[in-house]
Amino acid sequence: MEIPQTRDDDWSQLLVRVGKNEDRAAFERLFRHFAPLIKGFHYSRNTQAFCAEAADELVQEVMIRVWRKAPTFDPSRASANTWVYTIMRNCRIDMLRRNNRRQDSDSSDVDVDDIWDDTADTQPLLFLQRSRGEQEIAEGLASLPPEQSHVLEKAYMEGKSHSEISAELGLPLGTVKSRVRLALKKLQARLSK
């Protein structure tokens, strides 16, 4: 495996090349890197939400959007990892919605990118801290007590709500909530150090 820091930077540069020049070679490298991670994010655990086929379908959906949206990627605002994560999350919401949508339900023009929208923000003063933040959060996650990182993984990777996690682990809802809050507090403390 590569060293995280340089790796992070490389992927962002590749994304910029895809966005500016529709660079297929750069996109292929991104695909070879991110596709297995996207699949692993959803499929390596025993999640019911995504079987192997659904995970493969999700990979295709996410990477197509990465190609289409690459021109909007701004490396001063987010790392490639975080940017791909937000695209992947939105894809997943879309896929689950499509599967659950009732036939007779009124449709609405409001789509997932309207609700999970981060294009409106411009906060130049915070940019400097951003790349440091990525690193700090990754290290912070690794040092969390297992019961705290476990609920975060369930929330993000399995897409479970707090009450679903509480039911699954047989824990009171308040316990799940406080584990999440404690984990965030620790991560936040690292960011503001």
């Binding site: 297995p36 996207i38 493969d56 994560y85 023009d109 999970w116 959060i137 679903e164 936040q188």
Partner: protein, 229 residues
């Protein structure tokens, strides 16, 4: 100054994508008005990025990349052959109403998508208009309290989220201004009063009642059980 925010648990569910659609819509409206929570959202997204980066890779079919490029080319060709599909201009359905003039982007789109608003009078102080979000787990509506209007004391049978979009209102616990995000649990009792200087507009997202009956459920919403004042 926004003083009431969604808690970290709700923001995390939003960032992880597990918060129900209608509640996410309310969080999104708040985020568009609240720089502080936007920053928190960025941190929560970065957790997702870090978890993605650390995932155990699972092998993907070697043909997958070529498949993907094939799909992209196919879509490009279709788009080229169908000509430039001019995006439909959003219909300005509410431009004459000052209360609706400066809404967060996501709410503007919701209003445009809903079509002309039909305001229904709940009491002399309160009017409400339902918004179409394409889901029925939560009832999403505008609530509009007239200047200085006093809304009857009521409690909430389901969870309710309120985001103040214009003007302000108060109850026994405080004053709520544009951008403020309030979560009320079943059983909370309150009596909102709009401030004297202007009307107040709120976005309200209420957990759908355990169907009384479809129509009646809506008719008695948003104030599900009135208490004699």
């Amino acid at each position: 100054m926004i003083r009431h925010h969604p808690d970290n648990n709700m923001l995390l569910e939003y960032a992880a994508g597990s918060l129900p659609w209608a509640l996410s819509l309310a969080v999104s409206a708040h985020l568009q008005l609240c720089p502080q929570c936007r920053q928190q959202r960025e941190n929560l997204d970065r957790i997702g990025g870090a978890l993605l980066c650390d995932s155990a890779p699972q092998s993907v079919d070697t043909a997958a990349f070529d498949q993907l490029m094939g799909r992209i080319e196919h879509e490009d060709q279709q788009e080229a052959s169908s000509g430039e599909a001019a995006p439909a201009k959003p219909r300005p359905v509410y431009s004459s109403d000052p209360v609706l003039a400066d809404l967060p982007k996501v709410i503007r789109k919701l209003v445009t998508s809903t079509g002309p608003l039909k305001w229904r009078r709940v009491s002399s102080a309160l009017r409400t208009s339902r918004l179409n979000t394409g889901q029925d787990r939560y009832e999403v509506a505008f609530q509009r309290i007239c200047r200085g209007g006093k809304v009857a004391e009521h409690d909430h049978r389901g969870r309710e989220v309120t985001v103040v979009l214009y003007g302000s209102f108060s109850d026994s616990e405080g004053v709520y201004r544009r951008g403020d995000f309030l979560l009320r649990e079943p059983g909370d009792v309150h009596r909102p009063i709009a401030t004297q200087d202007q009307e107040c507009l709120c976005l309200s997202v209420v957990e759908a009642p355990v169907k009384v009956t479809g129509l009646l459920g809506w008719l008695i919403n948003p104030f599900l059980s009135f208490r004699p004042a």
